[in-house]
């Protein structure tokens, strides 16, 4: 059942398409698309698949490993991460993930969970920042990286927490504003922005549902479910990985791990997702 075409007479053809094509941003078209898409969602052909995979998330394996790494004295300084301050005080994990990215006075910058964990692994444990930043994500067939399992563990300690990414500091507000502009920025040979795929309700690419990341509801669903175990990859993937892989498919150059743009996009999503509930690591195709 086509979603956007709706119940229009078939004979309008090319002209009708010409009239309808770019309207996904227009309020009237949003309403029309939402109506037309209700039928598609109801008959979602992949719902059985998703239900069957809903429980028994292999991400739990990563969470367990992350807990070990969090508590274990490691690195050149032979120290545990239990002194790491993720924004709620040293070693406080409950709800910390739900309030990141945020401004940290000790570094004078806005950091997301991934850049903050790297910061702790460098300053507390003595690991090499360039080495951590060079391979933050596991390659296919490789075991999860330390960072990935730590992110999974930290996220799991915020399960059920309300998302409240702060906007008190001017740096946090700037990060949000830049993230929002980046979200709408069209570039590359395909002219894609984030909004191209994530700018309206009820859309799919192939069979994959696309969250509308211009609204709180969609942002809550996206922000609240990452990190996630990707069944297509057999691995837990983090928000920075998610953003970077979207950027790859946008046909842009590579989004650098820990870059300001990656953090800003996270801030934009997190702020928009405010009031939502963390339920990560989740399971995604």
């Amino acid at each position: 059942m086509p979603c956007v075409a709706g119940p229009r007479p078939a004979k309008q053809g090319v002209r009708a398409i010409a009239d309808r094509w770019p309207l996904a941003f227009a309020a009237s078209a949003l309403a029309a698309a939402a109506l037309a898409c209700a039928a598609v969602r109801a008959a979602d052909p992949t719902s059985v698949y998703r239900q069957m995979l809903a429980d028994d998330n292999p991400a739990e394996l990563a969470v367990a490993r992350g807990q070990e790494l969090w508590q274990m004295p490691r690195g050149p300084k032979h120290a545990a991460l239990t002194a790491c301050d993720l924004g709620q005080g040293p070693g406080v994990l409950a709800g910390a993930f739900a309030a990141l990215p945020r401004y940290f006075a000790d570094t004078g910058s806005v950091m997301d969970v991934e850049s903050r964990l790297v910061h702790c692994m460098v300053t507390i444990q003595g690991f090499s920042r360039p080495e951590l930043a060079a391979a933050p994500f596991s390659e296919l067939g490789e075991p999860q990286t330390d960072l990935e399992v730590l992110v999974a563990y930290v996220a799991a300690q915020s399960r059920g927490a309300t998302i409240r990414v702060p906007q008190g500091a001017p740096q946090e507000r700037d990060s949000y504003a830049r993230g929002r502009d980046l979200f709408y920025r069209r570039a590359g040979p395909y002219d894609f922005s984030c909004a191209t795929c994530h700018g309206a309700d009820g859309l799919r690419i192939r069979l994959q549902q696309l969250a509308n990341l211009t609204r709180s509801e969609g942002a809550r669903s996206a922000f609240g479910h990452w990190p996630a175990y990707r069944v297509s990859q057999g691995a837990v993937r983090t928000m920075q990985w998610r953003l970077s892989d979207c950027v790859r498919q946008q046909r842009w150059p590579q989004l650098i791990f820990g870059s300001q743009a990656a953090i800003d996009l996270s801030t934009y999503l997190g702020v928009l997702a405010g009031g939502g509930t963390m339920d990560a690591p989740s399971l995604r195709r």
């Binding site: 094509w21 709408y184 069209r186």
Partner: protein
């Protein structure tokens, strides 16, 4: 023809009519913001991406259309800005010199199914696809289709009686901004994503009565 348009050069062309750029700026439609706090967006972009594979940093430079359309409500752009984008887009379109619109729908279906091409993870020499199914319903039997664009199922039947349908469809595939200033569909011809030969094959997928789109 294949060689000429296969996108050997940088795929994003900087066709830069200065007037359009000015208009876009005057209309407040720029994606760039005043610098503030930890650095403005331009600075952040300059430090946040790295060239990889076939995706070089030039890809981040915006065309006037991209710049003007980088807003939450592109439909609210001033009418004259939209009109200029459409006019400039129309001028980029190259029609088949022999007047032959249709290639083979079987090849067109393969192109429509494939999303390979222009990602830094793609081999630069691999044949590119159009990934039409990513956004559109086409064949009646393929259930894995996206809904970002309208359904194109039974495209031929929908266009019976429209003598101009093929020309208009060609324009839409080549550079759809000729019809809609801030359309979300890639400029498959203008940006060198598909060759004119491939576009002919996709046209056949849409118009050939034997194509699964029309059966």
């Amino acid at each position: 023809m294949r060689r000429r348009c296969a996108g050997k050069g940088p795929p994003v062309r900087t066709f830069a009519p200065v007037a359009l750029m000015m208009l876009a700026l005057a209309g407040g439609a720029t994606a760039e913001r005043e610098e503030s706090g930890q650095g403005g967006l331009a600075q952040v972009i300059a430090s946040s991406f790295r060239a990889r594979g076939q995706a070089d940093l030039d890809r981040l430079r915006q065309t006037p259309m991209q710049l003007a359309c980088s807003v939450a409500r592109p439909d609210a752009l001033p009418a004259d800005v939209q009109q200029r984008i459409r006019r400039d887009a129309l001028q980029t379109v190259r029609f088949p010199p022999d007047g032959r619109w249709l290639g083979e729908w079987q090849r067109g279906e393969k192109i429509a199914q494939s999303g390979t091409g222009l990602q830094y993870s793609d081999p630069p020499d691999a044949p590119r696809g159009g990934n039409c199914y990513g956004c559109h319903r086409l064949s009646g039997t393929e259930v894995a289709f996206g809904t970002i664009g309208p359904s194109l199922y039974r495209y031929r039947q929908r266009n019976t009686g429209d003598a101009d349908a093929m020309r208009r469809t060609w324009i839409r595939i080549w550079n759809t901004h000729a019809f809609n200033a801030c359309s979300m569909m890639p400029r498959f011809g203008d940006a060198g994503i598909l060759t004119p030969e491939q576009i002919r094959d996709v046209m056949a997928l849409l118009f050939d009565p034997a194509s699964p789109v029309n059966r």
